[in-house]
């Protein structure tokens, strides 16, 4: 009925895709095309005379530099570590929230608090690290070991955990809400302990969502620039190098190359997350 009506609209009035056209033009012009140009710049296809023609020279130079490689490895370790820790923490939290929601006693304050970091730019999260564990940070008063922690690997890891938290809790919460409570209840009445129910019923059913969310969050964390920009005097991450190539002497090709590497890592995390999740979902549920 609705389909027929819209089919008739299509005949009588302007074609439906016309409605999508402005957005599509803008997306192609300001998102797809610049990314293609960025890739071209990194391959030496940029505007002459700056670029002299197709070359892999920029990539060879990037991967030959220890500074870039260090930043790349740090980026992977910190983003990966933060996502892993938050996934472990998030599972009990979302299960608890789903339980509360089912019983109709969900707390709005908890909900708001756990969503809050999504509205905070990365730079503020970096600043939080300075306030708590900077050289004159609050925690440093309690124990000297906390002073300057913000600029170390562990400090950055904790800051990125803060950054990842809402990006993992949100999607995972949706997945936890669709878990049927009758499944765990049945497992309990069959004699399984809480731990056993978690390991044999809850976790296998939640696993595809955990993997997919992890992949997406990893992609976002890899690209997170603001946090490390605020803490830039400490451990260096790849996004910092991307920016540096432009801010210290306008080296567009070198910057584009690192941006492509960073984007490739993020896309890889995203695609791997989706693919693994689909694989696990099929193994678990079909």
């Amino acid at each position: 009925m609705a389909v027929r009506a819209s089919a008739r609209d299509r005949v009588a009035f302007a074609p439906a895709w016309l409605a999508a056209l402005p957005a599509l033009v803008l997306v192609c012009l300001f998102s797809v095309y610049p990314v293609l140009i960025m890739v071209a710049n990194s391959l030496g296809w940029g505007r002459p005379p700056a670029d002299g023609g197709p070359t892999l020279e920029h990539y060879l130079r990037a991967f030959g530099s220890t500074a870039v490689l260090d930043a790349l490895i740090n980026s992977a370790l910190i983003a990966g570590g933060a996502v892993l820790v938050i996934l472990v923490v998030a599972v009990p939290v979302v299960l608890h929230q789903a339980d509360d929601d089912r019983k109709g006693r969900g707390s709005g304050t908890t909900d708001a608090l756990l969503t809050l970091p999504i509205a905070l730019p990365g730079i503020i999260i970096g600043f939080f690290a300075i306030v708590l564990t900077g050289r004159t940070g609050l925690f440093g008063l309690a124990w000297d070991g906390f002073s300057g922690l913000a600029y170390t690997f562990s400090g950055l890891l904790i800051a990125y955990m803060y950054f990842c938290l809402p990006r993992i809790l949100g999607p995972l919460r949706g997945a936890a809400a669709t878990l049927d409570s009758a499944l765990t209840e049945s497992a309990r009445t069959l004699g399984a302990s809480r731990a056993r129910v978690f390991a044999t019923v809850t976790l296998p059913l939640l696993l595809p969502a955990i993997i997919e969310t992890g992949g997406t969050a990893l992609a976002v964390a890899l690209g997170g620039y603001g946090t490390v920009a605020t803490l830039s005097e400490g451990v260096r991450l790849l996004p910092l190098n991307v920016a540096n190539e432009l801010t210290t002497g306008y080296r567009l090709a070198a910057s584009s190359t690192l941006a492509v590497v960073l984007a490739a890592m993020a896309v890889l995390a995203l695609v791997l997350g989706r693919a693994l999740s689909a694989l696990v979902r099929r193994a678990v549920a079909s």
């Binding site: 009925m1 609705a2 009506a5 819209s6 609209d9 895709w17 409605a19 999508a20 402005p22 957005a23 803008l26 997306v27 300001f30 998102s31 610049p34 140009i37 009990p92 608890h96 339980d99 969900g106 709005g108 909900d111 708001a112 756990l114 969503t115 809050l116 999504i118 509205a119 905070l120 730019p121 730079i123 503020i124 999260i125 970096g126 600043f127 939080f128 690290a129 306030v131 708590l132 609050l138 938290l165 878990l179 049927d180 992609a219 976002v220 690209g223 620039y225 603001g226 605020t230 991307v242 920016a243 432009l246 567009l252 584009s256 941006a259 960073l262 984007a263 993020a266 896309v267 995203l270």
Partner: protein, 253 residues
């Protein structure tokens, strides 16, 4: 056990914010919390330079929201109502800014359209393509809803024209999704830093850049005060997000 972890997680979120508030109200934070006494002077000192920046950010965010509704709304409608390989491809294209890190996109944008940067046009359009995926994610499921489509057919069979159906049936039914999209887009644009890094007009920075500048040039106390002012502006928006989510119909299995 899980209750304890939830509490601790809330604490993890809350502690830095409280610490920043303490720093913003301390005369000398390096002497410890409220070292040298309690003061609101840092807020008074931080606000005047912050006010025009906040105003500019609010204007950019409002413009980005309006553009999202104007171009994202029809796009969401088309994707929801005419599923085809073409709409799926569109989905991938729109989601490019989710996959490509913001700083990379910023490099790409400034490399392609340097001439649009000084006017701020590039900033607004950059924010638009960055927030469009969130608008689509909120609106497409709401617009694809079968019950809504049935209701629209009923309204049309009762003699309502397209505009009337949109105004009286479609928009009210999507109100929760719309609120969610608007608040999310607003919050994202207001706090956007990564994409903005190279496309932000240098002479007229937005709020995150003012903060970033203070972080590297100012003392901890006024920087904390500025951060708290910023948080005070996003907090209501965030409350709206949570309220919208709570009002959305819950699927009970």
């Amino acid at each position: 056990m899980s209750r304890l972890i939830t509490r601790l997680t809330c604490l993890f979120v809350l502690v830095p914010i409280i610490a920043t508030l303490v720093a913003a109200t301390s005369v000398d934070f390096s002497q410890g919390p409220w070292g040298g006494g309690l003061t609101l002077d840092w807020f008074a000192y931080a606000w005047p330079p912050m006010a025009p920046v906040i105003g500019r950010s609010l204007a950019v965010a409002a413009l980005v929201v309006a553009l999202n509704l104007a171009v994202g709304g029809p796009l969401a409608w088309w994707v929801a109502r005419h599923p085809s390989p073409l709409t799926r491809l569109t989905g991938y294209l729109v989601n490019v800014p989710l996959a490509v890190p913001g700083i990379a996109l910023s490099v790409a944008l400034v490399g392609t359209y340097p001439m649009l940067r000084p006017s701020g046009l590039l900033l607004v359009l950059g924010h638009l393509v960055f927030t469009l995926p969130f608008t689509l994610a909120a609106l497409v499921p709401a617009l694809a809803d079968d019950e809504l489509r049935t209701n629209e057919s009923v309204a049309r069979s009762l003699g309502a024209g397209g505009a009337r159906v949109l105004r009286t049936i479609t928009v009210p039914a999507c109100l929760v999704a719309l609120t969610q999209a608007v608040t999310m887009v607003f919050a994202l644009s207001f706090g956007e830093f990564n994409i903005s890094f190279f496309i932000n007009p240098p002479a007229t920075p937005t709020a995150p850049f003012a903060l970033f500048d203070s972080y590297s040039t100012q003392r901890l106390e006024p920087a904390s005060a500025q951060s708290m002012i910023f948080i005070a502006f996003v907090a209501p928006v965030l409350t709206a997000i949570v309220l919208a989510r709570r009002r959305s119909p819950r699927r009970t299995p």
